[in-house]
């Protein structure tokens, strides 16, 4: 371990636990607590990955969990950021996006072509001719993209959990810790998350040599650990903030769906790069990265370094590096006036030469860009332009850049905060926060640790007031003192075009000039055209500089130039954390187990599972036809528990039904059924069913299986609007329903029930209450399938008993259970439409030949006014029956096949059956009225160029005199 420093106070590594690991097949040693980047750096490995476009060697840059050029694969997991990948024993990692290895990447030749690949090159070069695009695409896919996805990857579901708190604090640095302790001591339930494995933020890298700061840090931690109502969650990312402070928290193992009453963001800042030639060479890193290496991982960032600075942080950094034995060759300060604070004197005391008004003009490398050899520094003129002719060469193996900061404001933006650019700090700071959202610390433009702590307290107090805490002493707002922490334009042109603005996507300064010349003068458009900020780090290191560059091209202020939209997630999140089961309610009837045992082919019907038919899947047609024949000839039994079952009671029950349905109900006799047709306000057919009157103020209503939930909901709304005295109970789940149908059904039932089932005692469209198989039941004489039949409604808990008794009693008659597909065939033969299947969102009653169900001279029902208008207009389509001559025609028509007259669409098939008890195929279709009369020929297009001819016939197909159901 060539670069490991002696033990550092507060270091995160555990020297008692060394670990062996491999990178690109070579074995190294690190410690528990290392991340892959720090362990490799400690071993002298400085090429951690290759850049996306030009395959340039890259090392550590931020060491702040967004080094997008040090991405590795470990087994099936890919695109892992090496700067936040915890080192584990036996870890085997390799760089992504290389042909060969990170150290020797054959695609590095791309860099030589870089001057021929201007911004927008791929957009412009490869979209014509169109026929070649598949070829281009295939070739480009080979070289584009980062890690390779393993299609065989299998992992169990990642856990999800819900949580709640009064105050969520994001970021456990000086501001976040101070805020958490203050809120916690007030008794608030606080969750404090930090993406790092340890709390402390800049306490753990920037202020390590400041005894006062370390004392405060320790005290804050002691107070925090003493409070049980503070839930500290290190290693946790707040990934996104959604409505009403629903926050997605990600840790290694799970997604936590957190509902917070208030949110305090103390997420800090991202230190920002300076743009100069070869600013991406391994060894050039942010000052904060160098300090993280030293203080968290005890790794020497370099031995001989140059500092490029523009703030007080750079001077503290110089002292810090020098104190750790690093030879600081020079501190180039972009500011002509230099550093006004006492930090300057401390640097001068160490003998480090300070060059005021200087920049690094370019970095020099050796070993094909893999090693930094030195830099050329040069003075800046009054406009801030570099003067390379006055440059001086400074040999070094490292550069630390400390020229400014950009707020980690993504969560604030997502939560609705607005930012304003403040020239005092040359940074966007939040200036308008929605209620319940608070910001503190560096993200708020407050930079020294005592000020950050104060700002954290101030925000915590505001949050406490918002949360209704009594006796809160509010604090004045904190303002930044001293020189600006950020430089307004740390960006320098160079003819060499390797002065990168975006390391993720290899975008250099001239690309922005080109984009601007092409007319891209809006930040969102510049982003799309240049792809700045679209890489894995989402512009954490590039967006701010891109805005500065565009502002300059536009001759506009940074405030006027604005920012791009911030979207979740704050950091890359494995898809496994997001994947999960969706909650689809699935309803099973009380007879579900019986159906399965009897060989029922279960299928989804709305939210229900129902048997389509009974028998092997490869004998579908035969099974359905055989069940249908059984119903027609003897008797069958079907589970219709999925029917909507509503009870309407109260003095206004009949009036309510009159307003909902198109028919009349005031004078409906008790113990009788009426057909009910309901429309919506536009006159569209909404629902149908039967309405049983059990008493003057008591109705029992059935509704379609698929539509009853929404219908029930609408009934409740109309009840409120009508202000009628009526109770509506949805009994769909409480009751089961069984339809016993077929000419023998009366004989099956008669010995099992207390009700007199004789034809004159219990006629068609009658309803009776009594017992069936000893169970209280409501029986209705309906004819949906066109045979003598009894719909038997019993409590769900007794359904199986009743069903089995009926099945036993029916056995001598040849009773068979039949499924929902069989029922569909039978009702089709009988010409009964299914609402929502044979009707659509525009069907009004006249189109479906349902005008008979509309009461004449009724003053009002829902949809009556619209129907009054529609009825005056000529029909544009009609629902008709049709038959085909031949069941063996191929392809056989399907539902929704179109009907043509020449090239004109004149209709659509809504239902069709290939095999029927009538021995010929039959169906229903919407057609233009001129084709609606019996005998019309319908040309159903079944495939391109293929048609089948059907013939319109009058409905019903089966038993037109309605003799069988009587």
């Amino acid at each position: 371990m060539t670069s490991r420093l002696p033990p550092q106070p507060g270091e995160w590594i555990d020297r008692e636990q060394p670990l062996d690991f491999q990178f690109e097949g070579v074995s190294y040693q690190g410690y528990t607590g290392d991340v892959l980047s720090s362990a490799l750096w400690a071993n002298g490995v400085h090429v951690l990955g290759r850049s996306f476009k030009y395959h340039r060697p890259r090392g550590i840059y931020s060491l702040a969990n967004h080094d997008a050029n040090a991405l590795v694969s470990v087994g099936s997991r890919t695109n892992l950021r090496a700067d936040c990948l915890p080192l584990e024993a036996g870890l085997q990692a390799s760089a992504v996006n290389t042909l060969g290895s990170a150290s020797r990447d054959y695609l590095a030749i791309m860099d030589r072509f870089s001057r021929f690949l201007p911004v927008g090159f791929y957009y412009k070069a490869f979209h014509t001719p169109r026929r070649l695009f598949p070829f281009y695409e295939k070739q480009m896919r080979k070289v584009a993209g980062l890690g390779k996805i393993d299609p065989q990857y299998r992992e169990g579901p990642t856990g999800k959990q819900y949580d709640f708190c009064d105050l969520l604090i994001v970021g456990a640095g000086p501001a976040g810790l101070s805020a958490a302790v203050d809120a916690g001591e007030r008794g608030l339930r606080v969750i404090l998350v930090d993406e790092n494995p340890h709390p402390g933020g800049s306490f753990t890298w920037q202020w390590q040599r400041n005894a006062e700061a370390q004392e405060r840090y320790k005290k804050l931690l002691d107070r925090l650990h003493a409070l049980e109502n503070i839930d500290l969650r290190p290693g946790t990312i707040a990934g996104g903030v959604y409505s009403d402070y629903w926050v997605a928290l990600f840790d290694q193992h799970r997604l936590t769906k957190l509902r917070a009453s208030a949110v305090l963001i103390a997420s800090g800042c991202f230190e920002q790069p300076a743009v100069f030639q070869n600013n991406d060479a391994p060894g050039i890193m942010l000052g904060s990265a160098a300090q993280r290496l030293i203080h968290r991982y005890a790794v020497q960032p370099f031995t001989r370094g140059v500092i490029l600075g523009a703030n007080s942080d750079a001077y503290r950094l110089a002292s810090d590096l020098a104190a750790n034995g690093i030879d600081v060759t020079a501190l180039c300060d972009l500011r002509p006036e230099g550093e006004p604070s006492t930090a300057h004197a401390q640097v001068e005391a160490t003998g480090i030469p300070v060059y005021r008004g200087f920049t690094i003009y370019q970095a020099e490398t050796r070993r094909r860009g893999k090693q930094l050899a030195g830099v050329i520094a040069c003075p800046l003129d009054r406009k801030g332009e570099p003067q390379p002719q006055a440059g001086l060469t400074l040999p070094c193996d490292g550069v630390a850049v400390s020229v400014g900061w950009a707020p980690d404001g993504g969560l604030l933006y997502q939560a609705g905060a607005r930012f304003q650019y403040k020239t005092e700090v040359e940074q966007f700071v939040p200036n308008s926060l929605p209620a319940g959202l608070f910001a503190a610390g560096r993200v708020n433009g407050i930079f020294s640790w005592p000020d950050q702590c104060r700002d954290g307290l101030r925000a915590a107090r505001e949050a406490a007031v918002y949360l209704g805490q009594p006796g809160v002493t509010e604090l004045d707002s904190v303002t930044h003192q001293g020189p600006s922490p950020s430089h307004p334009y740390p960006i320098f042109s160079h003819p060499g075009k390797h002065n990168f603005v975006d390391f993720d996507e290899d975008i250099h300064l001239a690309d922005f000039k080109n984009a601007h010349q092409e007319g891209y003068d809006n930040i969102e458009l510049v982003k799309r055209f240049t792809t700045v900020g679209m890489g894995p780090s989402q512009g954490k290191l590039s967006n701010m500089n891109a805005i500065r560059i565009l502002a300059r091209h536009n001759r506009a202020t940074i405030q006027a130039t604005g920012t791009t939209t911030s979207r979740p997630f704050q950091h890359p999140v494995p898809l496994g954390h997001l994947a999960g089961r969706r909650f689809h309610p699935l309803r099973r009837t009380p007879l579900d187990a019986w159906h399965r045992q009897a060989g029922g082919q279960m299928a989804h019907a709305g939210s229900w599972l129902r048997p389509e038919y009974y028998g092997p899947a490869d004998q579908r047609d035969q099974s359905i036809l055989s069940e249908a024949n059984q119903v027609r000839q003897t008797v069958g039994l079907i589970d219709v528990s999925t029917l909507g079952k509503l009870q309407i009671t109260g003095p206004d029950a009949a009036e309510f039904l009159e307003r909902i349905y198109t028919g009349r109900f005031h004078k409906q006799p008790t113990e009788r059924l009426r057909y009910g047709l309901a429309c919506d306000e536009t006159g569209t057919v909404l629902e149908d069913g039967v309405i049983a009157r059990l008493a003057d103020d008591h109705f029992y209503v059935t509704a379609t299986s698929g539509g009853s939930g929404a219908f029930y909901r609408e009934l409740l709304r109309w009840r409120q609007i009508f202000q009628l005295n009526v109770q509506i109970s949805n009994l769909t789940g409480q009751l089961a329903a069984i339809n016993l149908a077929g000419p023998e059904s009366r004989n099956v039932l008669k010995d099992l029930t207390s009700i007199d089932v004789a034809g004159d005692a219990f006629p068609y469209l009658g309803v009776r209450r009594g017992t069936v198989a000893g169970v209280a039941a409501t029986l209705m004489r309906v004819g949906f399938v066109g045979e003598l039949g009894y719909e038997i409604h019993v409590p769900a808990s007794s359904a199986l008993h009743v069903w089995e008794v009926l099945a036993d009693a029916g056995r001598p008659f040849g009773l068979k259970p039949f499924g929902v597909e069989t029922q569909r065939l039978l009702r089709l033969e009988k010409g009964h439409l299914i609402v929502g299947h044979d009707t659509d969102a525009l069907t009004h009653p006249a189109e479906a030949d349902l005008n008979w169900a509309i009461a004449k001279n009724k003053p009002f029902f829902v949809g009556s006014r619209s129907l009054e208008i529609l009825q005056q207009r000529p029909l544009t389509r009609q629902l008709v029956g049709f038959r085909l001559a031949d069941a063996d025609v191929t392809p056989f028509p399907k539902e929704c096949h179109l009907i043509f007259d020449g090239d004109t669409i004149v209709g659509r098939v809504t239902s069709i059956a290939r095999y029927s008890t009538l021995k010929h195929p039959l169906g229903m279709a919407f057609v233009q009225p001129r084709l609606a009369s019996p005998g019309s020929q319908l040309h159903i297009r079944t495939a391109p160029g293929k048609s089948v001819v059907g013939e319109v016939c009058s409905l019903p197909f089966y038993d037109p005199e309605n003799l069988r159901q009587q």
Binding site: Y242, S243, D244, W246, K257, R259, E681, T682, R713, L716, R717, Q720, I721, Q723, F860, S864, R865, S866, I869
Partner: protein
């Protein structure tokens, strides 16, 4: 994930609710000509602003009206329907 305040049950997660469309004060159909009635049942205002909307709390079967600024997706207040709701 929003929270909506049901007038009967208090603040509940949005998944428990069903959106019921823009609230129209119920009009007397007999007083409208055909064109105006067509507007009434078919026209939906898409423009941003404060809307009165029908919402339904599924678990308890409660319909109510929410006044919502659909530009900010901010619910200003919720209340149960009364016949007076149409009078302003």
């Amino acid at each position: 994930m929003k929270i909506l305040n049901c007038p009967l049950n208090g603040p509940r997660p949005i998944q428990e609710f069903h959106y019921g469309g823009e609230f129209h004060p119920p009009l007397d159909p007999a007083e409208l000509n055909d064109a105006d009635w067509g507007q009434e049942v078919h026209h939906r205002h898409g423009e941003p602003g404060v809307k009165r909307e029908w919402w339904y709390h599924t678990a308890s079967g409660t319909w109510f009206i929410a006044e919502r600024d659909n530009l900010k997706d901010h619910v200003i207040q919720t209340y149960l329907y009364t016949p007076e709701c149409g009078n302003d």
